[in-house]
């Protein structure tokens, strides 16, 4: 967690176009800089690339030769992907993939709506105890999930919802709230007070102000946090292990991949394909909505 990051979200747009001479000078003086950047970029990409190539190689080839030999002796197959989706290998990723989606959707929508309401109250309504309550919510951001898991599990056992999606929805929704409220509150405070006062003078109550004035302006903030939370829930392992560890019915894809890595750590034909099936959704979401995600990062923090 961090507090207000002292950086602007949008770079200054007015950066003047550098003259041709300047560009040339820069080019000449920085071949080493370009080289260093390329080396880093390659180092960062190579591990993923190696596994990606492997996921399309036949099992025997993966296990007896390095993935780099693929380029001198290319053989392609989709068997590994068929293997992780098919039920006969015991991997059955399709099922876990669906579970991940089922877990994610309410785990994003519920905290987002609740936090928007709460943030509105904190930002635009005066009531006794406001500051102390907001400080407490803010402070809860630093609580590590680990300290909450066992007592929460006991509660879920008592109300008999263990082994259902409810445990995951409720947990993820709760854990998301402090950061969500804090972020949305900051965005809402930036909306000019005049807008709200004008609406009040016109006789609008807090409900219609929330829907008619706030919500349209808040869309980028909601999108930013929504993506953030989606990636967080999709990629989570700890919460899933504790609350859905027992059965395959509700376990997300990360859990199955982690189990696979633990029990069949050398089955690289399954691990490679499985890893890529599990990252396809977050990577797609990320690439399509990168701008919102970056904005969320800049405004906020890393929770957990």
């Amino acid at each position: 967690m961090s507090t207000t990051t002292p950086v602007t979200t949008t770079p200054p747009l007015v950066a003047e176009k550098p003259s041709a001479a300047k560009v040339a000078k820069k080019r000449l003086s920085s071949p080493w800089a370009s080289l260093a950047a390329i080396v880093l970029a390659v180092l960062w990409t190579l591990p993923t690339f190696g596994l990606l190539v492997s996921s399309f190689r036949p099992e025997r080839a993966i296990k007896t030769t390095g993935w780099w030999t693929f380029f001198s002796n290319p053989t392609l197959t989709m068997d590994n992907y068929k293997g992780v989706f098919g039920g006969d290998g015991g991997v059955n990723l399709a099922n876990f993939f669906i579970n991940s989606l089922i877990i994610c959707i309410p785990s994003v929508l519920i905290p987002l709506s609740l936090a928007a309401l709460a943030a509105y109250a904190f930002a635009w309504i005066n009531f006794p105890g406001k500051n102390i309550l907001f400080l407490m919510v803010f402070a809860l951001q630093i609580v590590p999930l680990q300290v909450t898991l066992i007592p929460l599990l006991e509660i879920y056992v008592n109300i008999k919802i263990t082994g259902t999606f409810w445990t995951l929805w409720l947990s993820h929704a709760t854990f998301a709230l402090p950061l969500a409220i804090y972020l949305l509150h900051n965005f809402m405070r930036e909306i000019p007070a005049g807008l709200i006062e004008a609406a009040r003078v016109d006789g609008a109550g807090h409900v219609s102000i929330f829907f008619k004035v706030m919500l349209p302006l808040l869309t980028p903030a909601l999108a930013a946090f929504g993506i953030f939370q989606f990636l967080w829930v999709w990629n989570d392992l700890l919460v899933a292990l504790v609350f859905a560890g027992g059965g395959d019915e509700v376990a997300p894809i990360t859990l199955q991949l982690a189990n696979l890595s633990g029990t069949r750590g050398t089955a690289w034909q399954l691990l490679s394909a499985g890893a890529f099936v599990s990252i396809i959704v977050p990577v797609t979401v990320f690439l399509l909505l990168q701008r919102f995600f970056v904005r969320g990062l800049l405004a906020g923090s890393v929770k957990g």
């Binding site: 961090s2 390095g66 519920i110 019915e249």
Partner: protein
Amino acid sequence: MFNTASTTPEKILQMLAALLLFAAVMGLILFIAGRFGGKRGDRIVAYLYLLPVVLMLGIGLVYPGLRTIYQSFFDAAGKAFIGFDNYGTIFSDADQLTVLRNTVFWVVVTPFVATAIGLVYAILVDKSRFESFAKTLIFLPMSISFVAAGVIWKFVYEYRPDQGNVKQIGLINQLIVWLGGKPVQLLIESPLNTFLLIVVMIWVQAGFAMTILSAAIKAIPDDIIEAARLDGVNAWQMFRKITLPSVQPTVVVVLTTIGIATLKVFDIVRTMTGGNFGTSVVANEFYRQTFNADNQGLGAALATLLFVLVIPIVWYNIRSLRQSEAR
């Protein structure tokens, strides 16, 4: 509706039911709130808006947190009060000391290396033609799970015994062989293995550091840079005298944020070594003690320790933010 759904249609139905139930609750709150106006009504609206959040946070975070701290003073079964014995174990037991040592390695190495790489890369690609593509490459690992990252790197570290015509399939060991060395069981040799796991965290977090720092670099006013350039400073002086001081508050935020994330790292260790071969860290040990070793008390103490360790980092973060704002 509160049973375990086992087929896909059942799951989807349950999800829709949950969303409908939630929408109904929200609708009720908004309906009641809509009936109040005026100054006294304002308060009621505020409390109504906050009610679900306060309930969830109270039951889901505050109570469990306090309960865990309380449990950390009890024995393995959670029955007998044993004072600070669990904490004594953490700081004296040989295995637990390894866990602490590893956690220190993680928290010291990861933030500094990840931030340094992020900063250097942000500067290198700044205003280059391929800036956004180059940044995406480094940033991508941030979007995937630690589990997937663990699998990707486990493959890089893969070891094959050095005999006959067995070929290495892991990149690192192949490089070692090409350079004339003997392949190493990378994930088993301690403490080397801990540092190799730390590399994975750096790989993930450098993108975060780069993104935040890149925005900070772009926020440096152009006239300052222009003035420095007119004074004829070289690249190093520019970095040392202009860039670094300008982004310094952001560097602190990035360091502390990565530090906190690193402290809680669990998935990487669990996926790659399961915490074996002397690689366990506090967050992983918490899980192991609680769920595998059935030592609730020690597990609770480790979770509490994690909480306690986060506090000074956050405190430092807030303090340096205050200072940078006061300046």
